[in-house]
């Protein structure tokens, strides 16, 4: 089991949006994020939007640490980014398919 902390009993009564550290001993950053994402879904939490997890020593073991929290009703912090991207694209002239641009190299 790659998730090495926290224990399930530490989640009891966890307030909404209070961060909790979740450690994984998975071999790579992507594997650790994948495991933490799955663990969060099983426990009703969400993972903070970190693309690169910090590594820390837990005892003598190096683990990757994700920040997770129980989402509240108003947790939509990325609406601003979504609106910015879609507004910008709506005012952009048509451009070549990125797939075609990749193939052209």
């Amino acid at each position: 089991m790659p998730i090495v902390s926290p224990r399930d009993d530490e989640l009891l009564g966890l307030p909404v949006e209070k961060p909790i550290m979740v450690d994984s001993n998975a071999e790579t950053n992507a594997l650790a994020i994948l495991e933490i994402e799955r663990w969060c879904r099983e426990h009703g939490l969400v993972r903070a939007r970190e693309n690169w997890l910090r590594t820390v020593l837990q005892g003598e073991v190096r683990v990757r640490r994700g920040v997770c929290y129980r989402p509240g009703p108003g947790t939509d912090e990325y609406r601003e980014l979504e609106q910015a991207i879609e507004g910008r694209v709506a005012n952009m002239p048509p451009t070549t398919d990125s797939m075609e641009l990749r193939r052209g190299d």
Partner: protein, 159 residues
């Protein structure tokens, strides 16, 4: 293959062309939008190999050189890309070099860059979402571990 809903666990490897179609006005923008909205909202976890960034930078360059977008346009798109919650496997080039080479030799007509995305998907045990039908069609007949790994957004995956 029937169109699928979100995969178990809601995690995918994402082809850079899907992100490109979200960041720029492209023929597949309306298909890319629901996928990327789910990523932005944290409903879908997306993974990419480290070469994703080099590819994305190159797409930005070609949008300027070929499509006449301004430097400010591509700069803003690149900044937006950095805000997307896309998790990078930073050691993919080293970690998957042998596996990618095996795939390059095995799969006719599939680019070497695509094989790194595929190697990452196989390692994580999650599907790879792309717009590239040729990529999917080259992988599908091989079967075995590769069966059903590469899915085309808008055909195999409809959100």
């Amino acid at each position: 293959m029937a169109a699928s809903a979100l995969p178990p666990g809601g995690s995918i490897v994402l082809d850079v062309s899907v992100v490109g179609a979200y960041l720029f006005n492209e023929p597949n923008t309306t298909l890319a939008r629901p996928v990327c909205q789910k990523i932005v909202r944290g409903e879908l976890a997306a993974f990419v190999p480290d070469l994703y960034w080099a590819e994305l930078q190159n797409i930005c360059r070609r949008k300027r050189d070929q499509n006449g977008l301004s430097l400010a346009d591509i700069e803003q798109a690149y900044q937006d890309a950095q805000g997307l919650p896309v998790a990078e496997e930073a050691s993919a080039l080293a970690r998957y070099r042998s596996r990618a080479w095996d795939l390059v030799r095995q799969l006719a007509g599939v680019g070497s860059y695509d094989c790194y995305y595929l190697a990452l998907a196989l390692d994580l045990g999650i599907p790879l979402w792309t717009f590239d039908r040729r990529f999917r069609d080259a992988v599908r007949p091989v079967g075995g571990q590769l069966a059903g790994v590469v899915l085309v957004v808008g055909e195999d995956v409809i959100l």
